[in-house]
Symmetry: C2
Amino acid sequence: MGRYKKKEKSIVTIRKMPKQRRSIVMVETILQAAAHILEEDSQPFTTNHIAERAGVSIGSLYQYFPGADAIMSALIERHVADERSAAEEILAANNKKDGDMLRDLLIAFVDAHANAPRLTARLHEMAPGFGLQNHLANARDAQAASIAQAMGLPEKNILISVMAVEGVVLAMLANNPKQLKSNDFIDQLYAIALAPLGSAPYLSGR
Amino acid sequence: MGRYKKKEKSIVTIRKMPKQRRSIVMVETILQAAAHILEEDSQPFTTNHIAERAGVSIGSLYQYFPGADAIMSALIERHVADERSAAEEILAANNKKDGDMLRDLLIAFVDAHANAPRLTARLHEMAPGFGLQNHLANARDAQAASIAQAMGLPEKNILISVMAVEGVVLAMLANNPKQLKSNDFIDQLYAIALAPLGSAPYLSGR
DNA sequence: ATATTATGCGAGTTATTGCTCATGTTTATA
DNA sequence: TATAAACATGAGCAATAACTCGCATAATAT
């Protein structure tokens, strides 16, 4: 289905875990094809089209995924996991000064997005159409919580920071992906991230 | 159709202008029904469903709209027009101090969204699925340009400001609409909006 | 009043997607 | 090697959506 809704099928997981190598490869192939379709926006994000593009039988696809939304969900899962692990790596190395840590987090965040700009942008754009807004929102909230915890800052403020930064990065991703990694841009992100934390008491300026 | 794509039908306007009162009313009824469906997320956003919900024949609907995306587009148009007129009203009254003007703009922006939070959120969420991302992005860019022009600030920075503010407001809209109008929140928006403008040279702090 | 134009209707056709199941093949296991 | 389990296939039916067209009614013009 599509821009619509459905019978409320809440199964958004995988159906059967592939055990043999060929099936593992196949699932991967399906995900790759789905990612390409999403990126290129050339074809509808549909089980039939994904299967065709992957060169895989539609029956095989349904053996592992209950529907197109599950595939989308898997793609989101990957992206979210990337983000999370990048952030955790930095938070774990907590011997740096706070200001630098924030900066590192921003750089990692931008990297995680700029890595596959088109795919990431489309993922965020299309998720709501598949009822997967919460998926992303929850990931964002969890991110904010773990940052707040690691840095000893109030969660509520960090959440706003994250929302602001994410808003800018996603918008740039869709319109101006090339400038994402410039130092000027990172500087601006830094200022934005700092803004909701209150005048100054929390962080030592960079 | 759905979450997918189509034959590339770029007619996203109205088909025939209603001339008599009854047809004008009908078009309005259709738009209302579409808005409700979008808000409630109860039914697929489909020509058939919209027509049914509006209590209007499907044939009548197609007399005025070439498809569901055109209806969506019309809803977006309205929302965007609201935002724009609210902003222009404030920019026109340019006898205030800059700092207050920025604050007024933020309040107007929040109001325009908080007015019908669910609808606005869904509009932003679903637009990409109908190929209407640009619609919103263009409106945002135009907004930024006119603000930059009116306030004599560099467009590039204002654009980032707008992206950040919009990101936060949309995220809050979806998760925490009740806090949108609190003073604390507006204060944080203010700080965020100011952040990308550089250290201080442009504005007199509020 | 009559002609003309605008409007409204909805059954029905076409197109697309969702998804299963009977069948055949490959891999693992005893 | 034999048996079982996992895997792969795709024709095809059910479900949903897009969209038209012939016909009826209402508004407007002359």
